[in-house]
């Protein structure tokens, strides 16, 4: 009798590692999740609340602000989206999605109650705990408010741990402002919020200009101590954070305390498909949140 090779079932024979990231079973595993609410924010952006169906899984699912998930609509597409809700709510995420392509055009047409698959959370987050006791600058341009909403929620829930908190938000036009209904609530919690648009419309009464304008006002005339003890989170299109970070730099906010979130094409979220590489760094593993010093050292980052 000549010998036959034995089949190895890699999954069955794998040991259960401590970390989710090391478990071979997790590669393609997606949580079944239900779209529990769909709320149009503008004509292009919609807010989805998505809840994991299985109660046990729901309990286990947690994330930190800045992380993203992969959302899958079977047969349509799977794509990365930043989590835009509070990290203290387990097993549930809010995503604010702009319609720009295949999946994102399809999603606004689905009904409440539809099931989707989600994988993750993936990537690095903003180091919120490190920021305790410090001033925080939260700066968003356009869709950048979406990933910023999660650290904002954290700050609100832990307001006493932070000193000065400033939100600076700019968009092209007033019609593009997201989450308008929440500004008042944020401001109530002793948070200063500046909003500026590049082009006003008849209804707009606020300031018009670039996001760096209110930022300059906030930063000017403070003492060195303030700058040194300030953390900044910058989310938005690459051109914007280039200017913003330059300004922060001029005011000597430490580069290691400035955080940005990079966006690249992604197909896996797990450091395998290589589509998100900047230079040769995986945005999905080492990022999407990077401190500014690291970004400066990445080729082709901005």
């Amino acid at each position: 009798m000549n010998p036959e090779l034995r089949f190895t079932d890699v999954v069955a024979e794998a040991s259960r590692p401590q970390k989710r990231k090391d478990d071979i079973r997790n590669f393609e595993y997606s949580y079944r999740a239900e779209i529990t609410s769909i709320y149009p924010l503008t004509d292009k952006e919609t807010l989805y609340r998505i809840q994991i169906v299985d109660p046990e899984e729901r309990r286990r699912f947690s994330f930190v602000p800045g992380q993203f998930i992969m959302l899958e609509m079977p047969g349509i597409d799977e794509a990365p989206f930043s989590i835009s809700s509070s990290p203290s709510i387990r097993g549930e995420v809010e995503l604010c999605i702009r319609s720009v392509g295949n999946l994102t055009d399809f999603l606004p047409r689905v009904r409440r109650g539809t099931h989707v698959g989600i994988r993750g959370p993936f990537g690095t987050g903003f180091p919120m705990q490190q920021m305790h006791g410090q001033n925080v600058l939260l700066i968003a341009g356009g869709l950048g408010l979406v990933p910023l909403r999660s650290p904002i929620a954290y700050v609100l829930e832990n307001r006493s741990h932070f000193r000065d908190v400033n939100i600076v938000y700019g968009t092209k036009s007033p019609a593009q402002l997201l989450f308008t209904y929440q500004y008042e609530m944020w401001r109530k919690d002793d948070i200063n919020m500046d909003i500026i648009v590049e082009k006003a419309d008849p209804s707009w009464k606020g300031p018009v200009g670039l996001i760096t304008d209110p930022l300059k006002d906030i930063l000017s005339g403070r003492d060195a101590e303030f700058y040194y003890n300030t953390y900044a989170i910058v989310c938005g299109p690459p051109v914007m954070f280039k200017f913003v970070c330059n300004m922060l730099n001029e005011f000597h906010i430490p580069m290691q305390k400035m955080f940005v979130s990079l966006e690249r094409r992604m197909h896996c979220g797990m450091g395998k498909c290589c589509r998100c590489n900047v230079g040769s760094t995986y945005t999905c593993l080492t990022g999407p949140v990077f401190d500014y010093w690291t970004v400066m050292n990445l080729k082709e980052a901005i």
Partner: protein, 265 residues
Amino acid sequence: MAESRTRTYLGVPMYRPRVAFFEFSSCEGCQLQILNNESTLLDFLSLVEVVNFREAMTEQSEDYEIAFVEGSITRDDEIKRLKRIRKNAKTLVAMGSCACFGGVNQLKNRFRNPAGVKREVYGAHPVDSGPVRAVEDVVGVDLRIYGCPVSKDEVEKMVLHIAIGKSIVVPKYPVCMECKRNENICLFEFGEPCLGPVTRAGCDSWCPSNRAGCWGCRGPAEDVNLRQMIRIMEEHGFSEETITDRLECFGGFLSLMKPERGKGG
């Protein structure tokens, strides 16, 4: 049909468009490819309502949303017909190389003397025929299905995507990608010319997989390096004539070739 109105994909209502097929100067092979789809024809037909398909049905209607147009345009009456179709259709799809680039038919444009071309075939007898044009040279085109003939999978995919509301994408990269995916050995190894490196993929490298070099029926891929392609062909010992034969065969590369070889030359 009531049933069609309630059809959904993952809860999203589907759209069952009224489609029409039209042909101009061509071999009608692209239409035939659709009928050739025996195993999925019924599923295909359930996604659309065919209201015009001269090759297969007698009924005709002017009320349609999507017009699939096959063939190149050579005569004034064709231009008139095409313009009417454009007016009626919400979406006009240029189907096949003839519609997209003029196809093999545009080869006659390479003669500087159109009267001589006519004489060659019809003698002194007068025939009405102008230079061969692609559909988009006459009216606006919304979507293109490349290929001579079109691949039935692509047509089906397009219709399916329209029905469920998924975007329609064609590969931007060249045929070589698919050729390698199909684990072929490159035809240049065997001393055969091939336009795979500059031709838009999507045919699943049909010809190279059958050991025949690509003739570029799907037209250029995006950001192609034609100069380098020509140099490679020359280095492999292929005559200028062979290179030109391939590049001009279906008309897709004309705009990238030397100006004196351009359309209507």
